[in-house]
Amino acid sequence: MIRPEDGLHAALVRRGMTRRAFLKFSAAMTAALALPATYAPRVAAAVQSAPRLPLIWLRGQACGGETEAFLAAAEPSVTELLLDLLSVDYHESLMASSGAAATAELTAVTDRYPDGYIAVIEGSVPTAEGGMACTVGGRPFRDVVGEVSAGAVATIAVGACAFDGGTQAAGGGQTGAAGAANIIGGDRLVTLPGCPVNVENLAATIVHFLTFRELPARDGRGRPLFAYGGLIHNQCERRAHFEFGEFVLAWGDEAAQKGWCLYKMGCKGPETFANCPTVQYASRTSWAVKAGHGCIGCAMPGFWDAIGPAYQRLPAPLPFAPNVSADQIGLALVGGVAAVTATHGAVTYGRELRNRFVGRRRGANVALADGGPAVAVTEMPAAAEEPAPVEMAPVETAPVEPAPVEPEGVGPTEAAADGQSIPGSVRAAEIVEPEPAPALPMNVPEPSADGDDGRRPGDPSPGEETRP
């Protein structure tokens, strides 16, 4: 029924795409997944031969924004997704049939695909009052989600609402709205929070599945580390202004025209884990901070209530890291030595977090490179050793005092404390000082031959790492 020759590469060739262009695409996907560049051929090989993946898209309490984002997919494009990569058998916003005929497609799907399919869930699931705040075909959405995800090889919860209830849970909500994880849970769930999801991350998750027949490494709440393993603040193109104490103080002021840091206008980038600055939106056209408005933290749990007022400078206690007081990060900002110190405190805190998560990913990647069992390693072996953190917050490791500047040599120590063994020294390039050139850490780094795939200073290097 599904033929290998229907794969993406065949389709792209039919459209006149060159081998070179295809490899470039594979490299871009590899970079999006934060895999070392050496994986590009593997991604290319997998995507070339992949049969169309059956996909069932369910929409619950949602605004339709995730669908809108999906329909704007660029790499691969939505037409390639629909024609070549995926078989979107059920999607209420797209499908031809309606009513009983549509419902029949849903009930037949388990029979049609005994080997499973991908289920995508958009929107939250109401649980109060029997779930009657959202029904499809006369049945509570909750029941539909349960049935469809039971037969799925993987379920992807897209957007903030499917992550933890999102907008419907703001201020407590009136419908008992829950995320998909509250309904189905389990290790076959990927969550892609954000309002809406960045479709590049959805596409990358699908490509990862096609490549490795496994879901990408995730944190304890199902968020792929390639997308949610880094702070926005650390990847932000305006980061240098933060370092120099150059802040927008009023909308439209000179600093705003110059594109200075929006921290004091309430930007939640210092507290939000997502890859918006590197991946951006719509073929890297822009993202909120680049356009001129602060981040609102929409990829974080319960962000409508946790962030407080959108324009209030990050308060104490920090919304997503209750154990760190705001000023230890925020105080950076006035200038002078104290500021530099505090800034590096913030950097160290971010770096430690990344070590915790990225280090595990490295472990997974190295195992893969060795031809190890993909299934075992991509399931985050480290997660089995200790309870995965529920929040990506520096609960234990964040320095509560501004840390002294210690750009070098911290990798092994921290990594060892984290259960990782990293022989060798940290490379000289991995210093925390901003580059002297005005170039900012703004784009997804092109994977280069030395395996530099955009790691932050202090990250363990995959080449220098052994399996734990």
Partner: protein, 566 residues
């Protein structure tokens, strides 16, 4: 009498159920039920009014940005803030490009499968399709080779039993009337629409930071980075390494060029693909002007202010037309809006005026699941029933175009021209087909205006007028203790109103009535049908197992249950 239940109604903006009673092959009665409630109005209470637009815009991600705009306008009205002209232009560009994209791409994604049998497209001859395209469009964008590839691809998908969206809405339904060549043409344009739509996402992202849910609005204006208006070189007191060049995105030279070319691409798509296809369809299904006629009471709040006065001229004018009488347009008074909840799942019984005693207290009172049939005499929808001075109203593109025509002016001229080409009267707007044509007319009207707004904006910025926001009232300390505001505007679905009250710098009441709330309205306290319910009555149903005609009427409204029920 046969009761037909359609649930879910697909290709609309949220969970929707429609039930119709069919007697002697004609719909005798109809009930529309929005089957989702989220509680966003309540979630807004207690928040900082400057944050409201962020949450309010999550009402809809399909008509995205519309509720952000409605929300900031309501707060600005409450606080007495007048935005700079540049902000007005950017808002018009965001909302206008969104409307054009939504209408044109939506025609293929949501409407075309009801009129063209995409499942029959593999039977079309690419040469004949191209000949057809040339006969209806000045500059068709297809080649025989492309059409042949699409045909083969769709044939393979259908053969594999995985057509995805390209299956027939109702296989072999006699209500399909186009030739296989035309079916193939529509299938190819469907794919082109997807690609073009993706390019328009870049336009939205330049000006909004992302799409959907643009993030550059502010109470008082917009938060975009303008070109740096100061000296080009660092002066003594400045840090020598300020990387100004990284700042501008939308308004850099490259950004301006991209925006212009995207507008040109949009005009090409509307002129050479969308509009010709709609006119071809209208010709082929000319008799559909007699179905889905509906209420005949039309309401447009109007939108796209063309100047910065307190009561600006609107590109799409505001007005009300009663009983299909296009010789007369009444002015609109927001205080005439009230929502009945007698047939909706809320605690109250009486009509609620959003400006005064509006409330949203959900209480499901329908049958337990699985719901097999609705009781039309009881409460049966999550949608409230808005009424304007007690009358049910139809809103949306047809209403806007009818009001524009009745009010005269440049918008009315476009309406006349397109309908004249089709040989249709203006009253043909009140029909299944009329709504689809009205959408195309509106897209044409707006796509031709985008260039003007963009040019005006770039001229202003180029001449040093960099003001994008009036922040003199940004500080909450300057606000009155108690105030209230409202805004009237238009979404793709129709007239949108936001009403809020602010007390002690916090929102204490927030009510939204969207265009789809009007159109998906259930019955009111006096048992009168909503706009879609009324339009469904009288629709012929050839085959009850395949109620394609009913679905065409439903989708002609482009209903958005997510907007209708917040």
């Amino acid at each position: 009498m046969t009761r037909l239940v359609i649930d879910p109604v697909t290709r609309v903006g949220g969970p929707l159920r429609v039930e119709v009673d069919v007697r002697d092959g004609v719909v005798a009665d109809a009930w529309t039920s929005a089957t989702m409630f989220r509680g966003l109005e309540r979630a807004l209470i207690g928040r900082d009014p400057r944050d409201a637009w962020l949450l309010a815009q999550r009402i809809c991600g399909t008509c995205n940005g519309v509720h952000a705009l409605a929300s900031v306008r309501a707060v600005e009205q409450a606080l007495g803030i007048a935005i700079p002209g540049n902000a007005r232009l950017i808002r018009n560009l965001l909302a206008g490009s969104q409307l054009v994209t939504g209408h044109a791409a939506g025609f293929y994604l949501r409407h075309a499968p009801d009129w063209a049998d995409l499942g029959a497209a593999p039977g079309g001859d690419p040469g004949a399709s191209l000949a057809l395209a040339r006969s209806i469009s000045d500059a068709p964008t297809l080649t025989v080779g492309y059409l042949a590839r699409i045909r083969d691809r769709l044939a393979a998908l259908i053969e594999a039993g995985q057509p995805g969206p390209f299956g027939p809405a109702q296989p072999d339904d006699p209500a399909y009337r186009l030739s296989p060549a035309a079916d193939l043409l529509f299938a190819a344009h469907y794919l082109q629409a997807l690609d073009w739509r993706r390019s328009m996402t870049r336009f939205q992202t330049y000006l909004g930071g992302k799409s959907p849910h643009p993030q550059t609005f502010l109470v008082g204006g917009m938060a975009l980075v303008t070109p740096w208006g100061g000296p080009a070189r660092a002066t003594g007191g400045e840090h020598p390494r300020r990387p100004d060049t990284s700042a501008p995105a939308a308004f850099s030279e490259r950004g301006q060029a991209t925006l212009s070319s995207l507008v040109a691409g949009a005009r090409d798509f509307v002129d050479h693909v969308y509009l010709p296809d709609v006119l071809y369809l209208a010709d082929a299904y000319r008799d559909s002007v007699s179905t889905g006629v509906g209420l005949g009471n039309l309401l447009a709040f109007g939108d796209f202010p063309e100047d910065d006065s307190i009561v600006p001229r609107l590109l799409l004018p505001r007005g009300r037309v009663m009983d299909r009488d296009l010789s007369r347009v009444d002015s609109v008074d927001q205080s005439g809006v009230a929502e009945c909840v007698g047939h909706a799942h809320y605690a109250e019984d009486a009509g609620l005026r959003p400006a005064a005693d509006g409330a949203t207290n959900p209480r499901y009172q329908g049958p337990p699941p699985p719901v097999t049939s609705l009781d039309g005499a009881a409460r049966y929808s999550w949608s409230k029933a808005p009424r304007y001075f007690d009358d049910p109203m139809e809103v949306g593109p047809a209403a806007r175009m009818a009001v524009a025509h009745a009010a005269g002016g440049p918008a009315g001229a476009v309406v006349d021209r397109v309908l004249g080409n089709l040989g249709l009267e203006t009253t043909a707007l009140f029909s299944t087909l009329g709504r689809i044509v009205a959408r195309a007319i509106e897209a044409k009207l707006l796509v031709d205006r985008l260039d003007g707004w963009l040019g005006e904006l770039m001229t202003n910025l180029g001449s040093g007028d960099l003001a994008l926001a009036d922040i003199s009232d940004w500080d909450q300390a300057r606000w009155p203790g108690e105030t209230a505001g409202w805004s009237l505007g238009e979404s793709a679905g129709g007239a949108v109103g936001h009403w809020l009250r602010i007390s002690d710098r916090r929102i204490v009441a927030y009510q939204v009535v969207d265009g789809s709330t009007w159109n998906l309205s259930p019955r009111d306290g006096r048992g009168r049908r909503g706009a879609l319910e009324e339009a469904l009555v009288g629709t012929p149903v050839q085959n009850p197992a395949s109620p394609l005609e009913v679905l065409r009427v439903i989708r002609s409204f482009d209903p958005c249950p997510a907007c209708a029920v917040q």
